[in-house]
Symmetry: none
Subunit: 412 residues, 2 copies
């Protein structure tokens, strides 16, 4: 018993997009303990798709398809599957209704093209798509071959996978031995330095510990292979605690604890409020704070002071400081933080001013130089200088917002 | 005559890495005008790899392999190819020397394991690897089947491809015909509605027209297969112009024209400035404006008015409007837009206020209801109501910022 992933879409053959769907499904199959040995990409061509289906259905018992469920004529996955297994297509009224509702919710009229999305092979069941108009199917056209189809849109595919496909596979007996992982998240320390600190854990076999570096963050994944989540956690917990002790303040959370969440939780616990004054990030830090529903409990808002006139008029930054030290300086970062705290009357004020590049750098103030100011409830203000080096504008802006959050976290 | 890409590596089946190699090769094949219809990923397993090679060598005349050229026992691509076509492996002295030199340059001793990297099938020629220790091969084991192998390391693979593989393919007569594409980008119209409008173009054969939907945007790719870019553009241009005429204002740009870029260019042309007042997007719109280096020419900044107190104190939104109509209303959106325009003294003021969810929705004001206000240089203000439906918070916030940019674009 093994699975096989088949991705349908000429855009993949043209190299227009990276195939992240196949990586997601590959990981998920591994977590469920379902072996899979082949991945195939084929274009929107019925003859070739049929050939791929024929080959795969001989090799594997679970066939996962992504793509080709859209409303346009080149979306052919469902009808080609039906042809392959000589099954007629049936129009499902409930799908039509669902599509109509979604169009209505978006203030649009359903289009005739969408009707074809309501056609599924006789005997197949609907794999519901909560957000998009393209539902998938779960179908066993012949004994020991289960077919599941998903749209190519990653967000829709992932939701359909976790909400419907995974429970179905588990009901079939898969996932008995599960791989359960906990991701520990760190900031302010490099991958190699952390690796050296926790070196000895890398030799463990169950759970295993592996490092992952991502932008502005280092992670350690602790994975255990057991029959149940409870058993896995028993194995993982002591290791996690040891590592967290070793890492100290650089550890900020686990799994889906983002910096934003962690900072939000701390602010809510202390019943304190925060506002932001942003220059080079242009609103990115505020956008991060407000990613969290309910962030209005502690985040009041801020000022995007991209132009120096705004720094002066709304944040009371002194023209003198701007002239003598420049907009990218400790003193201006501090004045911005104090200015927004005072202007909005929040407990904390956080500011960012820097050179995101690619232009605007000098020998003394190179691209990637960023100052972060933090004004605390007592009215004290501190600033830190960050040098993110000669990286891309996006990355420097992103790291600036993350570092501002992390500085606030450490003070909280 | 077509090509096929085969990526070898268990790490791809486990989902440990995204397969960017296949996207690179797919793009390159398209540029050379070499059709390719299948991509296959298989693990480090000789039996399955052999099966894949057998299938592919019947379908395609050029087989490109990535991965499995390393020194470790699980690197099996070369020897499996040799077995498939019953060819002995020959040790190449020049490869041994090359590997020894590279180790010396890194101050290390060549490992015995590396000897296996010097074995290539009889009759194959070396595909040199300038930076790594794993060379590839170019081999025609049977008439009309050319095999090329590359290591999995992207940087090495790319260099070997462009320095040796491309010239070889061109010497075989490929690259005479290229595929050149132009992507037209649209907003404010759904994929199916646009498809209906431009239906007739989908039947064209050269250039071809194909639709792509992505979040908040629809794209049409026009691809021409010709001897030169100039000829391709000759074929593409008239079709593009027809489609642009049909789409009208919903067309906003092509290829890498983002909404942000297009709006920035228009503002710069008119030498006008803009500021933003953001509620539910919390700074996301400002962050979008400032993605562009040099946006300070036209973007001055704004106010993140997440809390109503900020709407009143900094944007002069009337408490009366907030009480009677609520923060999410046409009138408040308009007052915010006028307020920020006046406060910062910019030509345009753009505001966003809405319910990003998941909570906070009511029957009258559901999640996804967003008002966008635009104050123009004459001091007139208008607002539009958007219903983005019951989607995720991130998506609603993202679509809100995009729509605000698009509304400004239409007025510019």
């Amino acid at each position: 018993m093994s699975a096989e992933i088949i991705c349908v879409g000429t855009e993949l053959l043209l190299g227009d997009i990276v195939n992240t769907n196949v990586q997601f499904l590959a990981k998920e199959l591994a977590n469920l303990g379902i072996p899979h040995y082949y991945q195939t990409v084929v274009g929107d061509n019925p003859t070739r798709l049929r050939e791929v289906i024929t080959i795969a259905s001989k090799r594997a018992s679970i066939l996962l398809f992504t793509g080709g469920l859209g409303p346009t004529p080149d979306d052919l996955t469902t009808e080609t599957l039906a042809q392959c297994f000589n099954s007629p297509l049936i129009e499902k009224a409930e799908i039509i209704e669902d599509i109509q509702d979604k169009f209505k919710a978006r203030g649009r009229q359903m289009n005739e093209n969408n009707r074809k999305q309501a056609l599924i092979p006789k005997g197949a069941t609907i794999l519901p798509n909560p957000t998009g108009t393209a539902p998938g199917i779960i179908w066993e056209p012949v004994p020991n071959v289960t077919i599941m189809t998903f749209p190519g849109v990653p967000s829709e595919m992932k939701q359909m996978w976790s909400e419907t496909a995974v429970p179905h596979l588990k009901s079939q007996g898969w996932g008995k031995e599960i791989i359960f992982s906990r991701m520990l998240r760190f900031r302010g320390i490099g991958e190699s330095s952390l690796a050296t600190k926790v070196n000895r854990f890398f030799d463990l076999t169950n759970p295993t510990v592996a490092p992952y570096a991502s932008l502005g963050e280092v992670r350690l994944r602790i994975s255990a292979k057991t029959a149940s989540e409870t058993e896995a956690i028993k194995l993982i917990e002591p290791v996690a605690q040891d590592i967290i002790k070793i890492a100290g303040e650089d550890y900020f959370g686990q799994d889906d604890d983002t910096l934003t969440k962690v900072v939000g939780t701390l602010l809510r616990q202390k019943q304190q409020t925060v506002s932001v004054a942003e220059s080079c990030t242009g609103g990115g830090l505020g956008a991060m704070f407000t990613e969290i529903a309910g962030s209005s409990d502690y985040f009041w808002g801020g000022v995007i002071a991209y132009d120096n006139r705004v720094k002066i008029s709304l944040l009371e930054v002194s023209a003198e400081a701007l002239d003598h030290h420049g907009a990218v300086s400790d003193i201006v970062a501090q004045q911005m933080a104090l200015g927004i705290k005072k202007r909005l009357g929040t407990d904390w004020g956080v500011s960012i001013t820097g050179i995101a590049g690619p232009g605007g750098g000098t020998d003394i103030k190179p691209v990637g130089l960023v100052y972060i100011g933090i004004a605390d409830p007592e009215g004290n203000v501190e600033s830190v200088e960050c040098t993110f080096g000669d990286r891309s504008r996006d990355i420097i802006r992103y790291l600036s917002s993350c570092t501002a959050l992390d500085q606030l976290r450490r003070k909280l």
